[in-house]
Structure formats: structure tokens, C-alpha cells
């Protein structure tokens, strides 16, 4: 069965052009960029080029880019670094809807005696800036707020938050794994001190990421050892993947326009049609500003895993914020934080598109989803009550 892939917030297809770019760096140009010989030197040039490309996408300068192994490493590095830079400060601020790469780290730190404030979101998934203003104090070492939410696509007012943080002298980090490549970013005019990104969310391979570190921001490395990345991240560079990430960023910059017109157009049509065809559905975060590619819809009286399995039978690959698929038994922490009503908290499905999706695919999803929801509602005791009413 050919896959119809609309789970791009989970991971993406490696762009063929990205793969071509990285291919020679396995069997032919396998030199170590740190080596003194020409053979390593030519790889070093490509790594530099990749750094330029990542920087260009972010509106940053190349020496502000540190290559890492993934978004999680970037997140962990940023938070740990801030705490080491300010050993006397014992307070961390984050949000209840962060990715586990940040949230688990903060909760572990809370167990080790740090004071952690998790900011709430409203039912549309929005942050309250006053809550941040109240929470931050001189003891705050770092504020880490995601740029855009992976489950709902809701975009946070990062610059507004950053301005508040800077006033208090804390460091400001954002997990921008879902935002990079989807919406324009400009670090040259930003309050962000550190920003995490991940390669495999923007058509580069898995196992590569980067941390943007603003010039002048104090930093302590997480990985220590060799002198790579100007002593900021030890370990031999994953050259092929770094080169791939560079290419992926270049392509993302080139496709940014398309992402916000064509992809957004498909997403808008998908959500409008599903909402029109399916009663008692709601868009999670529908009232907030969202990424152009993401929609999360909660269907009342049905359970998410069952929907996904039936979608999968049709070749449609989506994901759910529901308990059953992830092995945990509660609705996702994001939907819970938003107070999604319990009648539909277990029945949320996320469709996340990419530039590789086609209008025909969207048509197919629009055709297949309504009968699936109806079928499960007919099977569900609550759904039947509802259908009869």
C-alpha cells in the first residue's frame, strides 16, 4: 500500500535533493573535518557551507550555529547551560505544553530542588503574558518556551515573551523544532538567546539538529571532549547529516513562501471540509495563531487509536493526541492543559502536512475520514446516543 503521509510533525521524508547532497560523504568524502590534510579540509568546507545555510534560514550569523545530534540534545544543552552559567539562580520557567525534551528535563530538575514554574494555556492553547510577568523574578535562570506546539500547531508570541524575559536578565530559550522551516524567523531582530531545531522535521535525516546561540550569551557545553564546534559541542561531526541539514535549510528557505500559501491552503481546505462534514468536531487551538501545516481535530464520542487504525487501513498516516497510541493512558498533556472536554479528549487526530502533499491526497482524506468517524460512533455507546438524538 502506498502511504499517504500527513504526520510531518512526527518526522518528514528526506528530500531527494538533500539525500543527493549528503550521499558522497559516506563512501567517498569520508574525511574528518578536523584533519590537517586536504581530504578532511574539503569536508570542512562543506560543513562551513552547511553552517551558513542554517544561519541564513534563521537570520543568524554562522558562528551562532552549533550542530547537535537532535532537537532533544539542543533543548537539554540550552537548559543545562543556563543553570551552570547562573549557579546561584534556582528558578526555571517553562510551559505545561512543552515537548518532553524540555518538560521532562524541567520536572527532573524540580525533583533536584529547582523551582519550576509551568505556565498555563487557555482553552485555545494560548499563553498568558501576565502569568509570565508574575512568575519571573531575579532568581529565574532560564525561561524556555516553545515556538510552536507540535500537537496543535499553536504559535506562541515568542518575541513578546522574550522582551519580558530580557527585562529581568534571565536567559531565553525556545524549542523551535516545529517552527523552523515553516514560518520565517529572524534572529538578528529577536530577543531569543538560544533556539533548538531538528533536522528530521524539515526533510533532513534523523539524528541531526542544531542549537542557535546568540553571540555574547554565556554558555557551558553539555558534551565535552574534543574542540569541535569551537569547544561548544565535542564529538566528531556527523558530517553527512550536517551537510544534509544545511541543504534542507536552504530548501526550506526557498519553499517558505509555498509552505505559507500552498501547504496552508491545503490545510485550510482539509479542516474546513472535515468540520463541515462531521458534526461535533472541534479544532484544538482553533482560536489561536497556528503553523500553516498543522490541524488537530477532536471528534466527540470516539477514540483516537481506533480512528488511526482505520485511517491506516486506507493508507493514511496521521497521529493522535490520544492515550492509547502512546502507551500512556491519559489524553495528551497538551490537550489536558487546554482543558479539552472529556467527551472528545480521547478522540483527537492531528494531520500535519508538508510540501510533498498534493491536492488529490487532501481530497482522499476528506472522503475517507467522515465515514470512519460515523462508523466508530455507531459502534460507541455514547456515539449512538448522540446519533439518535
Amino acid at each position: 500500500m502506498k502511504e499517504l503521509y500527513v504526520d510531518n510533525n512526527a518526522t518528514t521524508k528526506v528530500d531527494e535533493a538533500v539525500f543527493e547532497e549528503m550521499r558522497p560523504y559516506f563512501c567517498e568524502l569520508y574525511g574528518n573535518p578536523s584533519s590537517m590534510h586536504f581530504f578532511g579540509g574539503q569536508v570542512q568546507k562543506k560543513v562551513d557551507e552547511a553552517r551558513n545555510r542554517v544561519a541564513a534560514l534563521l537570520g543568524a550569523s554562522p558562528d551562532e550555529i552549533i550542530f547537535t545530534a537532535c532537537g532533544t540534545e539542543s533543548d537539554n544543552t540550552a537548559i543545562r547551560s543556563a543553570l551552570e552559567v547562573f549557579p546561584e539562580k534556582r528558578h526555571i520557567i517553562t510551559t505545561r505544553v512543552e515537548h518532553p525534551a524540555v518538560l521532562t528535563m524541567c520536572r527532573n530538575l524540580a525533583k533536584r530542588g529547582y523551582r519550576v514554574t509551568e505556565l498555563n494555556v487557555d482553552s485555545a492553547g494560548r499563553l498568558d503574558m501576565d502569568e509570565l510577568r508574575k512568575a519571573i523574578d531575579d532568581d529565574t535562570a532560564i525561561v524556555s518556551i516553545m515556538y510552536a506546539n507540535n500537537e496543535t500547531g499553536v504559535i506562541f508570541p515568542i518575541e513578546e515573551a522574550g522582551a519580558i524575559v530580557k527585562e529581568k536578565g534571565a536567559l531565553f530559550h525556545t524549542d523551535a523544532v516545529q517552527a523552523v522551516g515553516k514560518i520565517p524567523l529572524d534572529m538578528a531582530n529577536s530577543a531569543i538567546d538560544m533556539l533548538s531545531l531538528s533536522g528530521h522535521k524539515l526533510h533532513a535525516p534523523k539524528g541531526t539538529g542544531a542549537l542557535y546561540l546568540r553571540k555574547g550569551v554565556p554558555f557551558r557545553p553539555f558534551m565535552v571532549g574534543g574542540h569541535q564546534e569551537k569547544n561548544r559541542r565535542a564529538g566528531t561531526e556527523n558530517t553527512a547529516s550536517i551537510i544534509a541539514l544545511g541543504k534542507a535549510c536552504e530548501l526550506a528557505a526557498r519553499h517558505m513562501e509555498k509552505e505559507n500559501t500552498a501547504v496552508k491552503g491545503m490545510r485550510d481546505r482539509l479542516e474546513k471540509e472535515l468540520m463541515r462534514l462531521i458534526p461535533n468536531a472541534r479544532i484544538n487551538g482553533g482560536g489561536a495563531e497556528r503553523l500553516p501545516n498543522t490541524v488537530s481535530i477532536a471528534f466527540e464520542f470516539v477514540e483516537g487509536e481506533a480512528i488511526l487504525l482505520l485511517l491506516s487501513e486506507k493508507g493514511i498516516c496521521a497521529s493522535s493526541g490520544s492515550a492509547c497510541t502512546s502507551g500512556s493512558l491519559e489524553p495528551s498533556h497538551v490537550l489536558r492543559a487546554m482543558g479539552v472536554p472529556f467527551t472528545c479528549a480521547h478522540g483527537s487526530i492531528r494531520f500535519s502536512l508538508s510540501r510533498f502533499n498534493t491536492a488529490g491526497e487532501i481530497d482522499l482524506i476528506i472522503r475517507e475520514v467522515p465515514p470512519i468517524i460515523r462508523r466508530l460512533r455507531e459502534m460507541s455507546p455514547f456515539g449512538r446516543e448522540f446519533l439518535r438524538a
Binding site: 505545561r96 509551568e118 498555563n120 482553552s123 464520542f301 470516539v302 477514540e303 483516537g304 487509536e305 481506533a306 487504525l309 482505520l310 487501513e313 490520544s322 492515550a323 492509547c324 497510541t325 502507551g327 500512556s328 493512558l329 491519559e330 489524553p331 489536558r336 492543559a337 482543558g339 479539552v340 472536554p341 472529556f342 467527551t343 479528549a345 480521547h346 455507531e378 459502534m379 460507541s380 455507546p381 455514547f382 456515539g383 449512538r384
Partner: protein
């Protein structure tokens, strides 16, 4: 992705006996929307009211919940009520060629629904699991407030499936799978069921004057309950106490939380355990 057997997939994609029986002799309902799965089972008996001639189900839940319900209805048809009651959750899972351990609670739900249906038909007390709709008829102490599961129910599943770890208990019953606050109690239950420990009685003060009762209620709320809610980012406010009637309002994460009904139950349980048996807790807006 779960590693479901072909049989599970087949029963999920083509479930047998979905629907309802209008003149059913016995109906059993377990689970709820908030829990994430629920099953309503209909059973029709022969003229002698001994043998099951038909069974139908409605299920809200994941793939394996639907497959387990389908399997259950196939298994009980043709059996006498007593024979049907002998069916264990393990047999339901075996019928499907096995379930991933994390999904064993789906087979347990099937067996529970059957027990409830038959008990109600026979006019017996509805067995206490907790996560059915008959909260009033429940016996036993709530151990897992998130899923509203009683010690009696957990004990039975632990013994019946010889579960040794809290993680297994979560896989079979969901208990412990949400906030995790009940895991110490689950561990104690396991130890107890495995015969290593006897239950210590919690002491309750004797007869109370109304004033003393109010003081105690406030005390328990402040010292026992609110700190637990804070840990989850929630909070509550005491609105009123009238004799045994306690009115509370939820704040922060608890307000509008999918489990706030359970949280109210949990507060009630705690107050009954530590103050007096006749306390009822009511959630109000305020």
C-alpha cells in the same frame, strides 16, 4: 505501532455482534468517556433463562477494546450463565491470539461487563470495580482516583492474573497510568495479595461534634489533599460545610480537568477515610 495479532485486527475491522438487543435479559455497562474506553454488553437468554442465545455490544475505545468486545460476544454465545461467568480475561486475550500486555485492560473490561450484566440480571450486588457507572453500588475503597478503581477490583485482577509489579497492574487495569499517585498503594496491594503483608487499619476518630468535624475536614483538606493537587498543578477551594456535606470548587489545572469528577470522588474518599463515613463531597462552581 502496537503489534496486534491478525485475529485482533480482524475482529477490530470486522467486529461481530455490534449493536443492541432491544429486549435483552441482561445489560452490563462499564467504563466512561473520561476513562477513554467503555463497553455496553447486551445478553439474551433462551426460554429457560439458562443459556445465552445472543449477545451484542457497543464499545468506545481503541482497536483492542473493540476486538475484545467482539471476541467476548462470540465466546459467550451458547454458554449457560454459569459457564459464561467462568470466562477469564486471559481467555478473552487468548481467543484473540494474545494482546500486547499494555492492552490487557481491554480484556479485563470485557470480563467486567459480563460480570456486571449477569449480577444485575440475577439481582446480586454489582461487583465492585469502580469504573462502571454504578458508583453508588460500589463497595471497597477507591485506590486509583484517576480511574476510580477499588481495592476489591484490583485485588481480584492481581490474584487472577498473578501480577507482580505495579506496571503490570497498570497494563491490566489502567490503575497508576495517569497521575501515578496510587502506585505506592498498588504496590502495597500486590504485597498483600501475594500474602506478604496484612493491611493496616487506618484509624478514624470516634464520634465527632459538628464543630470538631468541620475542623477536621479543613485540616485534611489543607494538609492532605491540597498538597497532592498542587503537585499536579491543581487546587481546590472549600466553599461550604453543612454537617456531612462538603462543597468544593476546583481551581487551576483541576478546573475543567477531564478527571475532576474523580478528583471530587477522591476528596470524598479521603475525608471518609480520615474523618467520618457520612461525608459527601459536591463540586460547585464558585
Amino acid at each position: 505501532m502496537w503489534d496486534y495479532t491478525d485475529k485482533v485486527k480482524e475482529h477490530f475491522l470486522n467486529p461481530r455482534n455490534v449493536g443492541e438487543i432491544k429486549d435483552a435479559d441482561a445489560v452490563g455497562e462499564v467504563g466512561s468517556l473520561a476513562c477513554g474506553d467503555a463497553l455496553k454488553l447486551f445478553v439474551k437468554l433462551d426460554d429457560g433463562k439458562e443459556r445465552i442465545v445472543d449477545a451484542k455490544f457497543q464499545t468506545f475505545g481503541c482497536g483492542s477494546a473493540i476486538a475484545s468486545s467482539s471476541a467476548l460476544t462470540e465466546m459467550i454465545k451458547g454458554k449457560t450463565l454459569d459457564e459464561a461467568l467462568q470466562i477469564t480475561n486471559k481467555e478473552i486475550a487468548d481467543f484473540l491470539g494474545g494482546l500486547p500486555e499494555e492492552k490487557m485492560h481491554c480484556s479485563v473490561m470485557g470480563q467486567e461487563a459480563l460480570e456486571v450484566a449477569i449480577a444485575k440480571y440475577r439481582g446480586h450486588a454489582v461487583p465492585a470495580h469502580g469504573h462502571d457507572h454504578e458508583h453508588e453500588a460500589m463497595e471497597g475503597e477507591i485506590v486509583c482516583k484517576c480511574f476510580g478503581l477499588t481495592d476489591q477490583f484490583l485485588r481480584k485482577v492481581i490474584a487472577g492474573n498473578r501480577l507482580h509489579t505495579a506496571e503490570q497492574v497498570t497494563h491490566f487495569t489502567k490503575a497508576g497510568g495517569a497521575c501515578g499517585g496510587c502506585i505506592p498503594k498498588i504496590k502495597a496491594l500486590i504485597a498483600e495479595v501475594l500474602g506478604e503483608k496484612t493491611k493496616e487499619e487506618t484509624k478514624k476518630p470516634e464520634k465527632l461534634t459538628n464543630l470538631r468535624k468541620m475542623q477536621l475536614i479543613q485540616d485534611v483538606l489543607e494538609k492532605e489533599i491540597r498538597p497532592q493537587l498542587w503537585a499536579d498543578g491543581g487546587d481546590l477551594e472549600l466553599i461550604d460545610i453543612d454537617g456531612g456535606k462538603v462543597q468544593i470548587a476546583f481551581r487551576k489545572a483541576c478546573a475543567g480537568c477531564v478527571s475532576s469528577g474523580y478528583t471530587a470522588k477522591f476528596v470524598e474518599q479521603k475525608l471518609r477515610e480520615l474523618v467520618a463515613d457520612d461525608i459527601t463531597v459536591e463540586e460547585v462552581e464558585g
